[in-house]
């Protein structure tokens, strides 16, 4: 039987489907790619549904989309507690021990990551106009995500955080001191991000470089190295230092077109 490959996540789908069963991307639309090679994240249609493990996720709304999960028995998801929009009363909750509490507090990252267990329904959304980016992770993948960008992750994913190298980035860069790191081992997993504004992805070849405004950085494969590049700008007697993130392939890089400051989180 012929299958359709999703252009976004490469999963195989039955021919009768109009959206990917693994990431929700429309199957009847081609990827939209700019002249320089940035691919728009697929715009998930209202009420699109896709599966992960034994559970399902339905995406609702378009301006600030909501991810509504129907968790099966034995499945669970983790998330920053303030992104929960609603849940059924019988959905059990617990906390994920992330470790490094003091470091996380200093880095402005959530000290407590909550876990919701199935069976039951629970929904998540963030606080500004943007897009959901559904990233199914195959076994053995590592993904780095800017802090406060992930919406929800499935239970099979190992969640940790990594420090961004370079004092300049810590002091001046918009991407903060730490990044969330999501790792899959034997099992596949699912991470859903919320990117502010519109989201674009580019696959860098080995050694290929691109400069990204730190506030626009959203995610990258862990193989992609990120270094801070300083641009000295002089205007008369005034001097200003501008910092850009130099990303070097191989791997995917995701960016967002709007920067939202989370200093109060």
């Amino acid at each position: 039987m012929d299958r359709i490959e999703c252009q976004w996540c490469k999963a195989q789908n039955e021919q009768s489907r109009t959206s990917c069963n693994t990431c929700g991307a429309p199957l009847d639309q081609r990827n939209i790619v700019s002249d320089s090679g940035w691919t728009e994240a697929p715009r998930l249609r209202d009420m699109t549904e896709f599966r992960f493990s034994n559970s399902t996720c339905q995406v609702e709304g378009e301006i600030v989309p909501v991810a509504e999960l129907a968790l099966a028995h034995g499945d669970s998801v983790f998330f920053e507690h303030h992104v929960m929009l609603w849940k059924e009363p019988n959905v059990p909750m617990s906390a994920l021990n992330t470790g490094g509490g003091m470091k996380r507090s200093l880095g402005g990252m959530p000290h407590v990551v909550s876990v919701a267990h199935g069976p039951g329904r629970i929904a998540f959304s963030r606080d500004a106009t943007g897009e959901l980016v559904v990233l199914p992770l195959h076994p053995g993948m590592e993904l780095d995500v800017r802090e406060h960008a992930f919406l929800v992750g499935s239970h099979s994913i190992n969640y940790s955080f990594v420090r961004i190298k370079g004092l300049a980035n810590v002091l001046h860069g918009g991407s903060g001191m730490y990044m969330d790191r999501f790792i899959t081992h034997q099992q596949p997993g699912l991470v859903i991000l919320h990117g502010y504004g519109n989201v674009f992805q580019k696959s860098l070849q080995p050694g290929e470089k691109i400069l990204v405004e730190p506030g626009g950085f959203l995610y990258k494969d862990s193989e992609v190295t990120m270094n801070t590049v300083q641009q000295n700008i002089r205007t008369g007697l005034l001097r200003h230092n501008m910092y850009l993130a130099e990303m070097t392939g191989p791997g995917r890089v995701g960016i967002q077109s709007m920067y939202v400051h989370h200093g109060s989180e």
């Binding site: 626009g216 205007t235 709007m258």
Partner: protein, 298 residues
Amino acid sequence: MSTPEGTSHYTCPYCRMESDGTANSCSSCGAPVDIRLKISHSGWAKQPPIKDMARIRFNRSSCQISGSFVPVAEMNLNGEDSVYFSHHVLLHADTQVRLEALKMGGGWNRILAGMPLIMMQAAGPGHIAFSADHPGETLAIPLRQNQAVDVVEHRFLLATSNVNYQWERSGVWFTTQDGDEQEWHYPIGQMMDRFTAHGAHGLLLLHGPGNTFLRDLDHGQSILVEPGGLIWKDPTVRMHLHFEYPRGQYWFSSARWQAKSMWLRLQGPGRVAIQSVFERPEMVGAVVNSSPATTHYW
């Protein structure tokens, strides 16, 4: 920017530039060609959003607009072309694009007016992309040689290097009294940007929060707009303040002064553009002094 003589037959209603009209979008401003012009009964034309991945041609380079919530303007710069921009709108750039500061005078005035102090210049060849930090629309304004537009501060995204950038006082202000202190208010900002194309056609990109509407005012025709809604205007359009005081239950107290409406009167001839998102006007006390203004008591 222009088409061979004799082949032009489509004039874009939004930017008034000519093309052969065979593309899906205007090559000068990116406005869709295949949609009907929407004009409200009162004469406001809705500026249609630039379609995803539409291309705008300028000089030897092109600009591609992508996204819809917070659009990205991705420039493919020729080696002989350059653009300038406020550094905070840069999103990504090829490593070979040359970035440097643009030399500008009047730094102290710019600091006082809250305008971007540092402008950067990007020179080709290579790709470089820009986006604003608010949901809205990218507005592309192609400028004929020596054509100028006045733009409200904080709407500027980028311009080609042959577009001259000047700023001058908006001339729209009023003062109120708070105890012994006099407070100054600038409803459209203390300064206004003027962009003028020199030597050749130029391209100016702005970011308008919400939706954008255009209107052509005849000679002497005037319209009252919320000051925070103005995006840009032709230099021929004059503007001044207009205060209206409601009648009714407010007459006996100072609340009447609080309940006043403050408008910006725009007087033709010329084109004006407004946005549907604007800051809520602050409640202030009685007006003590102002720039030239008209007043009406209902």
